[in-house]
Symmetry: C2
């Protein structure tokens, strides 16, 4: 393993872990909160901004509606937190929405939830990283032209971190998450005190006017805009179910600890979101999707980006964009956002692995890599997220249009599943206290299902034209693929059930050795074929060039090789078809026989040497495997250049190879 | 062969040709001229223009120097034609410059010529097609924004035409070449008569002024600019050696017919080139590399292109850019240019095949495709040319900077080789008439060698900074690659010379069957392995998951399989290394034994199914081939989905498969 790629792999990943090192890494609440709640906590950095962006499409006049929209989001957040507190206590196994939906509503509902969650995990990575980079650029505006590159580097770092394994990344999380929460709370407190004392903070955009894109709105259009603003604000809820997926990682009593962490997350989210929204109004932040709509914007509206809302507030509260407080808040906001993407790096591969185990996804997603993480899932997630970032040029506002549809699909189905769960529980409940508890749970989840269902419809309608239709396509497509994969594996499994017939010995074995010229590799192939003592042994050659074929026949006699050399004519200079016909023919005469085709192959040390050899052999091999009753034996000849690679490999298996210690 | 790609292949190529249909397609002079001389004849369309482009860098005042530059080009053309008349008579075998140089100056010189020619063939395609498209755009200016696309479509058409075979393309050539020659001769005659009668044609750019990029030139700088203009004009000479490569395709007496065609080509070239240059001066054509340097240009100089010189002359002579004469000349000019690229499509694959036969290039370039053409060479040429066009955005002027260095390298070495040839001839000459003939030849070729050598130096110096350095890098790189390939093949050939040791039978054969789960494919692999009657037979499985391994062992006993099932531990969840160590170990105990590893493989009908299976098997197979004394047998199991493909294939081998008729 001393090849450059291996060295790189070891540098990024560290030493491999043995399978028996896999044990549950149990987390205390103070670590579980930052790991599983970084996503919902971090979304307060952009939730307020997204509300303002939509409202300002109607001009400054509409901004006074912000508090009502924010209030609706807070109510929704409370409902969702209460609902999921029920889920974590009822299903401490950590399957989360997928398990609740498939257990209570059947596998189809479960699969819809799975598809929705997979899509949303990808978007969590894309949106969180993009928003984090927004805040980096707010602090250092010169980086604006490297936006996409910075995004992709961040995703690469996250990927490397996650490939190294969960425990280390857990520790890496606690500090920035708490630092961010503390920073926001201090900012909110300081800002409010300033306002009360009559020195209300003033944002850099306070004096801007906004060129409204939608003017003279009818009341219906206004309602639509309000609902759209609400939909955008709902991004504050994303990731709420992360804790429900992580229950097994909690210390005992798992359910109760998870529920308490859930509540803590909810309370923190509400305080921060409300505080930021109030400060945004107090300091009169103005923000527009299209920077050129801002009347009074200082920079070049074509190329420069406006600062994020949270950056503007921080600058206003802490005394300008060179204050320590401003940089502290931007740094922690960027960090928590980029790390929030980690929630998805925990969730996506785990869900992928569960789905692969249930045969809905390829087997490769089920196996653990060198460091006991689900490497393939991590890499797949990173690639798709990076692609999205690239396609949408790292724009948070555009990416956010695709977001949260998946979340609300799974919220709704999960809550509906919980209602069924309680109905079933009710039949076995005996004490009245228990029945009361169940009734309460059913009311909470029933209300949650209805509320999130309505929100899902609102989100679908208001965001559909702005890009959400992509998700409406993606979820069913993913669903279809998963069903097809499952069906395929099922069909194959049935087809392959062992039976007596497959264990029958073939009556005779015909060995066929392919010869192009007579040299050591072909000599070796002949002697290996002979050593297998087949019932018949024939060497065959394809006549593409008469002169070469005659020379081969001459050599054949000169070296006195006993087996017959059969010349197959190939008027169209093909290799594959004549061999195929010959083999078919052998089997046609006696179908219970088996043909073993020996192909001499060069083994080379450099990839480019392959361009110089083996071309027809490879194609032929691929094709022969389609013939029933044929097996293909590669007889390798290691050219001297392959030694180099072999030495490298010997290097990696030192000492007693029997012990297999690397 | 009913897959979509095969159908497409047949549509483009037509039916395959049998090998015995290959016979020399002998050409009469009237067909040989258009086939081999379309390149030099077509270059008159841009040679004058390139001279004007360089001179106009110094402003309008320098244009009066044009006739002297053109005269130098004409002299050079005469020298080259005379020199090559000697070559075609002395070497009628058609190896051209490559053969002359390697025969007389040794293989190194030959290889330099080969490298230079390969580079120049590619540039012939790129430059000719780009210039052809220039003339199409001159007639239909709206196409300017599709320039690169049109270029690439033209290359694709040429490729398809050439893949179909030489004879048809020969016919396709005669008409447009003669039509173009006639058109130019008529245009020159009409234009000159108009001038003599006092109604001299006036080009659309006659009233333009040119904003000189280089003003106040020192006399040294002026000389340099003149030499640079001469270098650009030398493009009129490209392709002159095409006839010398094509001698075997002439009717007998081959040498004399080729020499006469050579003279005809030279005379036509000179008349057309001089005529166009004179008319360009008479009609006062102004042209600039950077359109924005033109004072008085009507269009938008950022996006619109200027018409080519020949287009401006045609419009002036034939009465405007909507006259029949104008369209006729543009159409034939575009056609002959695009077809001129065909000279390279004839030459490149043939040279590639000769080099491959001499083992300087990969074997694939030596074999003939379905239609008896050297398909791989044709495709390679098309790809590289298309890449160049893409990189240089289809700009003739930029591409032409890379051009003709290769041509003059091969001219010079070829003429120098001819001098050696005559010296050797002189030693065996007996009659004085013969000696006189040899002396004359030696003078011509000696003068040619000196003259082209000087031009090569001039071209190198004046074009180096404008892109020619790329060619100065490319030729030695190509040379190095060819030497390396030759050395590789040579080393392999020595390594593989048959000997007694390779024919020795191995003492024992150990069969190892890889088992993951027990199903039909593994049952089949076991029974095939048994049928080969090995000395030992072991089934091995890798323990990655304890539960799965125990289940396998249970099944193994349930089905009462006689061979022992050995479990290899893999604490790091790898497949390859444990198997490798096991095999190494078997061989370590008795090195003269052979291990045959049986790998059960699924054969699937759709490419995507491969994503769901076989991943570890493939990697393992590749790695095992590096082990000495190991052969790898794939035992395929055809899943039902593979039937579909099999039916398609049966379709293509109907009737009596023994006869192999497609």
């Amino acid at each position: 393993m001393r090849s450059p790629t291996s060295v790189l792999k070891r540098l990024v990943l560290g030493r491999p872990f043995r399978s028996d090192q896999l044990h549950q890494e149990l987390l205390p609440k103070r670590l579980a909160l930052p790991i599983f709640a970084s996503d919902p906590l971090s979304s307060v950095t952009y939730a307020t901004q997204e509300i303002l962006l939509v409202l300002s499409l109607g001009g400054i006049a509409l901004l006074h509606l912000t508090p009502w929209v924010a209030l609706a989001v807070v109510v929704l957040l409370i409902v969702v937190v209460l609902s999921y507190r029920q889920v974590v206590q009822a299903y401490p196994s950590g399957g989360g929405s997928y398990e609740v939906a498939s257990h209570n509503l059947g596998p189809t509902a479960g699969l819809v939830v799975a598809g929705a969650l997979l899509v949303d995990y990808v978007l969590t990575v894309a949106v969180s990283v993009a928003a984090g980079v927004d805040n980096i650029i707010s602090a250092v505006p010169e980086l604006n032209s490297y936006r996409v590159l910075i995004n992709i580097v961040c995703i690469a770092l996250l990927t490397a971190m996650n490939l190294r394994g969960v425990r280390e990344s857990g520790r890496a999380f606690a500090v920035p998450t708490y630092a961010f929460v503390a920073g926001v709370l201090i900012m909110v407190a300081v800002g409010l005190i300033q306002a009360v004392l009559g020195h209300a903070p003033v944002a850099e955009s306070a004096h801007y006017d906004i060129h409204a894109e939608q003017v003279g709105l009818s009341s219906l259009a206004l309602l639509f805009l309000l609902l759209r603003a609400f939909s955008s604000g709902c991004t504050a809820l994303t990731g709420a179910e992360a804790i429900s997926n992580g229950v097994p990682a909690f210390r005992k009593p798992k359910g109760r600890n998870a529920a308490r962490t859930m509540s803590a997350m909810g309370i923190l989210s509400i305080i921060m979101f409300s505080g930021i929204t109030v400060l945004a109004l107090v300091s009169q932040v103005k923000i527009a999707e299209n920077t050129c709509d801002l009347v009074g914007f200082a920079g070049n509206c074509e190329t420069d980006a406006q600062r994020t809302v949270i950056a503007q507030i921080a600058a206003a509260v802490f005394g300008g964009d060179h204050s320590v407080g401003f940089y502290y808040l931007q740094a922690t906001a960027a960090l928590i956002l980029i790390l929030a993407a980690n929630t998805a790096f925990n969730g996506f591969p785990l869900l992928g692995s569960i789905l692969a185990q249930h045969r809905y996804l390829p087997r490769q997603l089920h196996t653990r890599g060198d460091r006991l993480t689900f490497s393939n899932g991590i890499i797949l997630l990173a690639l798709v997220a990076a692609l999205l970032i690239y396609v949408f040029a790292g724009s948070t506002t555009k990416l956010i249009q695709l977001y949260i549809i998946g979340v609300f699909t799974s919220f709704t189905l999960c809550q509906a599943g919980m209602v069924r769960h309680w109905n079933r529980e009710l039949q076995t409940a005996t004490t009245s206290a228990e029945r009361r508890r169940i009734h309460r749970g059913r009311v909470i989840n029933g209300f949650g299902a209805c509320f999130t269902g309505v929100v899902l419809v609102v989100v679908l309608i208001t965001k559909f034209g702005h890009g959400a239709y992509l998700v409406v396509i993606a979820i069913p497509v993913l669903f279809g693929i998963m069903v097809a994969i499952r069906r395929h594996y099922q069909r194959v499994r049935e087809e392959l059930t062992p039976d007596e017939a497959s264990a029958l010995l073939p009556s005779r074995v015909h060995a066929v050795v392919l010869i192009s010229t007579l040299h050591k590799p072909t000599q070796r192939a002949m002697s290996f074929a002979k050593a297998a003592r087949p019932d018949t042994l024939t060497a065959i050659t394809i006549n593409v060039d008469d002169a070469e074929t005659r020379e081969l026949q001459r050599q054949w006699e000169k070296y006195g090789i006993k087996a017959p050399l059969k010349v197959l004519e190939s008027p169209y200079r093909e290799i594959t078809r004549p061999v195929l016909n010959y083999v078919k023919n052998l089997r046609r005469d006696s179908p219970r026989d088996v043909v073993c085709v020996y192909i001499p192959e060069y083994v080379v040390g450099h990839w480019w040497e392959n361009l110089l050899h083996n071309q027809s052999a490879l194609r032929l091999k691929g094709r022969l495997l389609f013939e029933p009753g044929v097996m293909v034996t590669s007889v390798p000849w290691q050219l001297r250049s392959s030694d180099r690679r072999d030495l490298e490999r010997a290097d990696r298996v030192p000492g007693d190879v029997r012990r297999g210690i690397p």
